[in-house]
Symmetry: C2
Subunit: 291 residues, 2 copies
DNA sequence: CATGATATCTGACTTAGGTCAGATATATTC
DNA sequence: GAATATATCTGACCTAAGTCAGATATCATG
């Protein structure tokens, strides 16, 4: 009854029997799924026909027909790409935008009703995030970003919130040595976020100092993404960035309440060292020499 | 970024882009999905053609063609129903069973690899259970069963395990007043389990005494199914059964550590009463008069 | 046993989705 | 500027899936 394989297959069945409904929600407006998907992708800002075809994995002949069909309905217009007249650019007309919005409203309403019927929506959403992250694990990208950007700020906010949950005496950023954003950007350092279909699932900062030393800061992996090896991927990205910046020694501080992080460091070539700062929160210090 | 609707839609996208793979896993053996689904359903024991058609929601013409195609491949045989020669019964041949097993192996392997790649499979499985329960909430059935059967025993095991996690000093069934199975079966009482696609998600027992009084025992809802109103449905079923058995007064005992249960009782017409037994675990006692 | 209901089958037809081989126009490279 | 590559389009063709109107055989009922 609790056989893991049976549980996964039960999940698959539940999902596939609902997916009919998912698909037909795209129908319901008198348009086949294929055409609706193209309209939807254009509405979400994909205008280049070649990119569309690639994204939706469609044959060029089929794509062409779908575009023609949308044009005949008066929902899109196409024109040649200004830099390359072989390529075409598709754009929604006013009617097309209205139709796209109608799909969006339908889709949002469906999502909304799923949540509204549940009396513990936060638990359900967390479960959905976790499943989505696991299903899409091969599509999680690591991007180097400005630590002041929206994704980075979101990750840092979640990171601080988690620290204050996990530290017995809470966590207050103001009391910690908050790294300057410029220290975590080229040419001194770097900041990475892990993105799954637009949702930030983790981050790590590399804070460069003068000379050949740098610190790893703000390593965080969203609860929904734990177990996918994202911490290691983030650390690898930070190390690679450090090497590119000719850094030879990395250091970091952490707290013994963060067991999984500590375990990761010990498993990946870090060695414990003496305290090297007076930040009140960390009680464990590590170093790694890059060769 | 944390907009609930966006999170649900992200989940839908993740799932639909994997469902292609789910579908094509049924292919991969050179047989279209429709036919493969029929083979699969027959393999899982559905032999009556009318039942198959109903289960798979297929048109009778289409069903007939699928059966013919499987017969031509030598995977099934059909014969008239012994009691009604209009109906037909489909059965796998030896070759059909081999083919069915091949699909099963493929499907199990796929599920297995999903789990194997995750380093916290239990968390992922719990999330999948929760999502599956929420998606299939309208298909959760309440069945009256023998409390000694497999489903009931599973629920009771989970129930005891949860009590020992939640009670500060643990829980030992042997010390509790374990109701006799016969007290929770007709004509004295009843036992219900909630089933979602075969997985037990909750249970409740009605323990009849001599006279017009009965007790509610062993109300449990699986963590994956919380928030779906299953506790209430189970209690309603128990009440209805009690009325049928001409019971006029229901009692129950519970523990203040089980907040959500207490809340449910208070909201559904139960009133707190004095202790009515010497079981060491409960510290709260309720009564409800049935009209 | 006549009548209507039911289960399955068959043939004719439709739609959605997709493949593939050129045709056409434009860009890139030598 | 010729040869080649690329992006899109068109026509011909195919499969999967599904709908629908009878045909046929059997069952249930008065």
């Amino acid at each position: 009854m609790l056989d893991p394989i049976a549980r996964v297959r039960r999940f698959n069945r539940a999902v596939t029997s609902e997916v009919g409904a998912l698909d037909t929600s795209f129908l319901g407006r008198g348009r086949p799924l294929g055409v609706a998907r193209v309209l939807n992708a254009i509405g979400h800002g994909r205008s280049d026909v070649a990119e569309l075809r690639d994204y939706l994995a469609l044959d060029s002949g089929l794509m062409s027909r779908f575009l023609r069909s949308l044009e005949e309905e008066g929902l899109i217009t196409t024109k040649p790409h200004p830099d390359d007249a072989r390529r075409r650019i598709a754009k929604l007309t006013a009617a097309g935008r209205r139709e796209f919005e109608a799909y969006e409203t339908l889709s949002n309403g469906q999502a909304q009703s799923m949540i509204a019927r549940h009396s513990q929506p936060e638990a359900l959403l967390a479960a959905m995030d976790m499943v989505a992250a696991a299903l899409g694990r091969d599509r999680i990208s690591l991007d180097e970003v400005d630590p002041r950007g929206a994704e980075a700020r979101y990750c840092l906010g979640e990171y601080y919130a988690e620290l204050s949950r996990r530290f017995a005496r809470g966590f207050d950023v103001a009391l910690s040595r908050d790294p300057d954003a410029l220290d975590m950007m080229a040419p001194r350092g770097a900041f990475f976020v892990a993105l799954s279909d637009g949702l930030p699932l983790g981050c790590v900062g590399l804070k460069g100092h003068a000379g050949a030393t740098a610190e790893i800061k703000r390593l965080w992996v969203a609860p929904a993404a734990r177990g996918l090896g994202l911490g290691r991927r983030l650390m690898d990205a930070a190390e690679t960035a450090a090497r590119k910046l000719s850094i030879t020694t990395l250091r970091l501080d952490t707290n013994s309440a963060l067991g999984e992080a500590q375990q990761l460091y010990r498993r990946t070539g870090w060695t414990e060292i003496e305290r090297f700062n007076d930040d009140p929160y960390p009680d464990l210090f590590f170093e790694k020499r890059l060769s």
